[in-house]
Assembly symmetry: D2
Homo-oligomer: 342 residues x 4
């Protein structure tokens, strides 16, 4: 089969023929890929930023945001059958450790991340995953329409879900970044809360889209944006700040926009937070880490998606056009999410 | 009456005669002080560290950790009567704002902090406070025995109380600092959880006391302590770290001791936390601010104290000996808490 | 001033002249009534059903669902001023007991309920209440438009608010009764969750309204309704059942509609629940009591109302027409809520 | 191998030879039984009380409370190895349904209950279970010492764990029944909370044991016990009532002992709760179902047991003495728990 393989860091991946994966273990599932999202993290992988943390043996197949149809199942798989339409949790998990048993699949002590860790990903015709990663979908679903929910979506939903108990009517949620993750987060906030949503982004076009998706107010990130958010909240700041950027200064601005007794959610990454402990305690603010989400998070998000409450802007590329998609993404020329379609 | 008054920053306070306070408003309460704790924050006030934040008009009376007997009540006070033994929440609150109505007195939009903000404190014979600040005690309680719970105690208890849901059997809680607040925190942990308690401190004597109070393991903070905590937790770190120091590097060490999906509680202050957002999200760790506590926190802590589950080491000084107490504290010569007794 | 006074049980109240109330205590507030809701509970009071529980000295003024304008304030009132538009929490509370300090005003150890307990209510030109009961509104609000939120609204909102954490996407909430409280509850559910809402009522017209307000599916309560709800949930039942009726058999039907590990919320009253403990434990179901709500609940509901997310059907009557309103309600001839307007 | 097999309801089981089970599926685990608890539910099974609900094909092997050593594992088992000492969660679960993934193994949509459902139990030399049911223990643990925690223990612990957030210092927890489950529950309460524990039982000897295990006060259930609990709580009742009996009237007494805004936990079964919905709503009380517990509950309980914080009174019988053990239990002649030891 064809696959998009990274041979060397700092060089374009190569589209080449490799053997199809097969189900070896009793819980293995092979999926025929119907849509594989192209993510900024793929650019970071190519640049070698994840080399130390993940140590994949090169060459390997990238692509960690996948949906498709079940092609083959191991002998003990009971939750899906050949032909089922599925979206895949990006981290197959063991189901046996305390984290898995507490509903925190993303903290599985034995988890891995195909396309990121040392396991082949989904920019290929077929992908090997495991039973616990498969979320079964309505057969009418087109995988390419939902694939981006498998990583960008679950991450945004997970953070919003954790914030919901803090966002009763009368509160404000500030969202930093209305891009790939942010525009899903805004829709999740609108579906699950009645909070006031203020969206901050450098790009006025992204803010226009944000308004259509549920933002109550928007602020251009032009240098005066922290002050503007404070003004919009009577000087107090937002009860919750969801920071989908968390680099290039956004991280410290996000904390500055957070109200006394409020919570600053870190979802993006790249920057360094620098904050005096006096500022943390004198206002009793929290800084909340967020990573991917649980299987149940993804399943719940699919309910919202299938009800039309969360929609995605996508641009399809053939699998052979993977390099074009990666280049377009790098050049900022993809509106919404690029999806490889076989 | 006599009072310990700060006339100029960087100079010793003066013990002098001032008029007794009287109840003017219908909810005012005047308390005859039976015990006034001497706190490191008092040294910081004298050094001017709180001048900008609190802007008190000098001279004023310091002392923010008080217990005593009700001396006079305003016309609308119904919860205490003259003669009642009381400990005082350090922040009188309005009872009308959203925070007060949600059980978060310390975030009252109209709160103040006698002895710290521009209001006379309790290093005096009498103190003016309000009805909502009074926790009624068993008449047999000696105010000087419990006064230190009014600020050091409530702060430690509040943090532990927030951590309890995270500390099921099988978890580890690392406590940084076994001093004034820490030694109360250890007792609260032992009373409210079955977690394993690891205490870290520079002072081997403090660690000995910690063992008597409930620590399961102790680690001398000698440079290798982060590694030692990691070793004691199979390399993973503690589910909760309670940092009663949060300065001089403890703040970044505390975060480093925190397990994946765990929470680092900031209670002390003075240092600056510097942490890449990648480290926050890749492990989904939280940084949790803590400040004082609610009225109900203080009332619950008094239940533990009156049941003998939390005890304090104190050293009594007469009100006239206030300067000696402050100097002893500054010189590190107070074991436990110095308490002024009239 | 004119007031609607109950002189004898089982007889119509009398509209008569009584002295205007005045602020005597420092926290008293006198409100000029702008809207007083007429509630089924008023019929129950007249019938003597609350006589034993509340023991009011007759005659007294009824009316426990009020909004208006502040007319006079006691010396210590700081949260409202003469002329402010307000809606009133139905239970003035002390602000000093543990319940008040934990945000549970409705469990105040010293609370009372004007128009129900031995205190004059709001079917009059003026009403005496206290500072802690006043929720300040935008001055443009017409009290008669929101008065019904003061009791029917807060009760429905409080129950929904407690249910929200159980109602993630993919769940079902069954609502029994789409009348006065139920039609507010449906709107709150739609505003605060993405759950599927199934509404059960005897009245097809009420179900039509329910659909407009956010119901996803409706079921006529014609005897086969428990089976229908089970069918709509694949035989499993609803994660949450909100029972706004809880009499005439609805109470046991409601429990029967509740899914394994689910929760049956009792909000209405009048019936008797009879359930084998084996049925409770073998499925681990919960039965959840609900009464009125907190001050913050009412404040949050007013945010929804002022944003147009919760609207009320009301029919205005002049204060002189109170008996007509009560008779119309008793005869089932009021669509929405009857409101007395001065 | 030898096994205790039920051939006909209302007749003694038969100890007879049957084939040893073997691991057939990849996740199967065969355990050499080291201790099998004899439970009142076994008597109920023999009497046919579970016949309709569970519909086992007779004959089958009873025994649902087991610990031992791993004897054989299927090809995909990774969490335990041959020779490991284990205690068994009583309900093998799928690990794939929403309940399993939310940490609620006992609500697994595909769970079963060996020794109760149509699957052979553990009163035998070997037992077939699955990987997800195995909790690995310190190799020094004697299975017969802990077996009773596998069902009685997990059930008591699960209920206490749910109650902990309601039991802050200053509250009261009333425990009805200090027998097999109750005496474990009392120890869990003492380990995890600082609440006041009042224990109610008909048997003064059981109350003496309760005092040793952590009860603060005890009340003989002699008819005046509801009043006594109310007196001990200033007429208000307990914030939490844990009812390990829930039959013969205890169920309605338990609700009557529950404080306004409190929660009545049903853990035992057999009786019928009859309560006017007015009583539920006017006090906003909750009735909370409880069944077994999660895998993590069992793992946490084993931490308490291995730390000596929960201990069991047991009486060992050889497997051949199973009928004697059942008869002794029926005759009330077992102090603590009867355990079959091979």
């Amino acid at each position: 089969m064809k696959a998009v393989r990274l041979h060397d860091y700092h060089q374009d991946p190569v589209i080449e023929e490799v053997p199809e994966p097969t189900a070896q273990g009793p819980l293995d599932v092979v999926v025929k890929v119907g849509g594989a999202g192209v993510c900024r993290t793929d650019l970071h992988i190519i640049e070698g930023q994840w080399a130390d943390a993940m140590q994949p043996a090169l060459p390997y197949t990238i692509g960690h945001e996948n949906a498709g149809w079940v092609h083959e199942v191991g002998s003990a798989v009971t939750n899906v059958a050949v032909g089922d339409t599925v979206i895949l949790h990006p981290q197959p998990s063991c189901g046996l450790c305390r984290a898995c048993r507490a509903g925190q699949d993303m903290h599985c002590s034995d988890g891995y991340f195909p396309g990121l860790s040392d396991n082949d990903g989904g920019m290929a015709e077929y992908l090997l995953t495991s039973a616990r990663a498969c979320v079964k979908l309505d057969p009418s679903t087109r995988p390419q329409d939902v694939a981006a929910l498998a990583d960008a979506g679950i991450t945004a939903y997970h953070a919003v879900r954790k914030a919901v108990p803090l966002l009763h009517p009368g509160t404000t949620c500030a969202v930093i970044g209305a891009g790939g993750l942010g525009h899903i987060g805004i829709q999740c906030l609108a579906a699950l809360t009645a909070t006031r949503i203020i969206v901050v982004d450098r790009n006025p076009d992204a803010l226009k889209l944000a308004e259509q998706l549920g933002a109550d107010q928007t602020v251009v990130a032009d240098g005066g944006h922290v002050d503007q958010v404070l003004e919009l909240t009577d000087g107090a700041g937002a009860e919750v700040v969801l920071d989908f950027v968390a680099e290039q200064g956004a991280e410290n601005e996000g904390f500055a926009m957070t109200r006394r007794a409020g919570s600053y959610f870190v979802i993006g990454y790249g920057g360094t937070l620098t904050v005096p402990t006096l500022d943390i305690i004198s206002t009793e603010r929290n800084i909340v880490g967020n990573i991917v989400g649980s299987y149940n998070d993804l399943a719940e998000l699919m309910v919202l998606a299938q009800a039309g409450k969360v929609t995605l802007h996508t641009k399809a590329y053939p699998l052979d056009g993977a390099l074009e998609a990666l280049h377009d993404l790098d050049a900022g020329e993809v509106r919404g999410r690029a999806i490889l379609v076989p």
